[in-house]
């Protein structure tokens, strides 16, 4: 049996289902990410797994024990986990006391509490704040206290709800680094909710995509990012180019697809006539001024309709019968003079295209 398992979880609130038929298995030592847009039910699910709330229907197993049973069983199980809430609340007391509380509640002795808290303050870089009232800390510092407080009790399962969502970029990357360290060092089981795909990709061994209270796809980050099951997942994982078309030919491995009169080639195996969505990441599309013989089988002529710098890259929109978005480096954009109105060729490999059947 998996370390954490949910069976047929349903959560109703205000007459609607927030969660529907959630079946999740997380193995010991795994880092598992729940990815989905805001309101998908990630927090609700985490609260159920942490046994703060009880599901309307379904059962939750923690380390093989059905924890939908008595409050005593739930408390015992809860004391083997830790949960960092999306907007952590610190107690109106010193940072030291905040971290010590979880240990005291578990009946740890004075010396044990002292040693443990000292160690945590050190590793989390919170030593200078130890005597400060935690309410006076900044957002990033509060998040650090919340994580320190969570790992102080040496939980077997760590639940993180959008650990970096409310932070400025610098604090966010610091916190993420910290989480990565904890994962590496403590070989702890982690379930984290995030709407940041890239964060999920960086940290997780396995990802479940949640939408409207349901898990729509589960797999390793690679498969989620490269082969999303449906259009919504594709959009979520950053497939900016999603084009509707129809399969024209299929030789069993390679297909040609008609998108608004333009034919492209792709690796796909759908019957001729199938309505499909063609997904491409903007970074997989290269832009050239002339039709060159590259390994890319698809080369479409078009005109730049929009070019804008986004950090180190340039985002180019090309009209080639339909809109394509491509990312090129700033330097090559300058060299090629990619401005509005420029005539270009958009090249992309057959393997960089992901084709989904449209419903």
């Amino acid at each position: 049996m998996a370390f954490i398992e949910t069976r047929g979880i349903r959560q109703r609130r205000d007459g609607g289902d927030i969660l529907k038929n959630i079946n999740l298995r997380v193995e010991r030592g795994e880092v598992f990410a729940l990815i989905g847009p805001t309101g998908a039910g990630k927090t609700t699910l985490l609260r159920l797994i942490d046994l703060i709330d009880t599901p309307t229907e379904g059962r939750i197993f923690f380390d093989g024990v059905d924890v939908t049973a008595s409050e005593r069983v739930r408390l015992e199980a809860r004391r083997r986990m830790a949960f960092v809430l999306q907007k952590p609340v610190v107690f109106n007391m010193s940072v030291y006391e905040n971290i010590a509380h979880g240990l005291r509640w578990r009946g740890a002795g004075r010396r044990q509490v002292h040693e443990r808290v000292e160690g945590i303050l050190e590793t989390m870089g919170l030593n200078e704040y130890r005597k400060r009232n935690a309410r006076t800390l900044s957002g990033g510092e509060v998040q650090r206290v919340a994580i320190a407080r969570a790992i102080a009790t040496e939980p077997e399962l760590l639940l993180l709800d959008e650990p970096t969502a409310n932070l400025d970029p610098v604090s966010a990357s610091k916190i993420e680094e910290l989480i990565a360290d904890i994962i590496k060092r403590d070989s702890i089981t982690v379930i984290m909710a995030t709407h940041d795909m890239v964060q999920g990709e960086r940290l997780a061994d396995r990802i479940s995509v949640m939408m409207n209270g349901e898990i729509v796809q589960t797999g390793d980050p690679r498969s989620i990012f490269n082969t999303p099951h449906n259009r919504a997942v594709a959009e979520l994982v950053g497939m900016e180019n999603i084009l509707d078309g129809t399969v024209v030919t299929n030789d069993g491995e390679m297909s040609t697809i008609n998108i608004k009169g333009t034919i492209i080639e792709a690796v796909a195996d759908y019957e001729v006539g199938t309505e499909v969505s063609v997904c491409m990441r903007p970074e997989d599309i290269t832009v050239a001024l002339a039709r060159t013989s590259t390994s890319a089988r698809n080369s479409l002529a078009g005109e730049v309709t929009w070019a804008v710098s986004v950090g180190p890259v340039c985002r180019i929109e090309i009209d080639c019968g339909f809109k394509l978005v491509a990312l090129v480096t700033k330097r090559s954009a300058e060299e090629m003079g990619l401005k509005k109105g420029a005539k270009v060729f958009a090249n992309f490999k057959v393997v960089s295209i992901h084709v989904i059947r449209r419903r």
Binding site: A82, F83, L85, P88, F91, H101, G102, W105
Partner: protein, 228 residues
Amino acid sequence: MTELWNGFVKALELIVTLDPEVMQIAGRSLRIAVTSTVIASIICIPIASLIHFNQFHGKRFLVSLIQTFYSVPTVAIGLFVFVFISRAGPFGGLGVLFTPTAIVVGQVILITPVLLGLTISALSGVDRALLDTARSMGASGWQMAVLVIREARFAVIAAVVMGFGRAISEVGISLMVGGNIRGFTRVITTAISLETSKGDIELSLALGIILILIALIVNIIMNRIQQR
């Protein structure tokens, strides 16, 4: 007017010279009110937590009922306690009528609604996310209650102080079940009412000033605590 002024001067004299009678009455008043407040707090804070932390049918009604009793007349409680502890009453055998104990019993009943109601609203002021956090950190029901009372400590202290204020300033209960017996159950408020009707304005004024001073000191202490 001069009579009033003379009375005022003499009253100050009584206070400054620590007149034994005045000091004894003030001391007794304080002792009784503090005892009542402590007992009521020990009873009310846990009960308020129970009410706050449990969801049950009629909770809102109970809370409004408690609030209704904030302003119950002291004489009504005096009468109520009197009926119970008078010789013919169910607790007549205890022989506590006209003792400080009787006053304490009455005052505890008097301030219980205030303490309960204000403690409940103090606890309601604590962020729900804090409860979730405590629960996720493995707190049991009582550990959570202690934490929440600690988080709401200033508001809870304010509730206790309000209770004390009502206890030390009441006159109905002390008069009816204490009996205003000199050297035994005479407290500031009963003394004031008696001495005033006897025409001994000085003693009344002195005790009145002391009562106001007590209120002032309590408020200053409370402000200090809340500013921390």
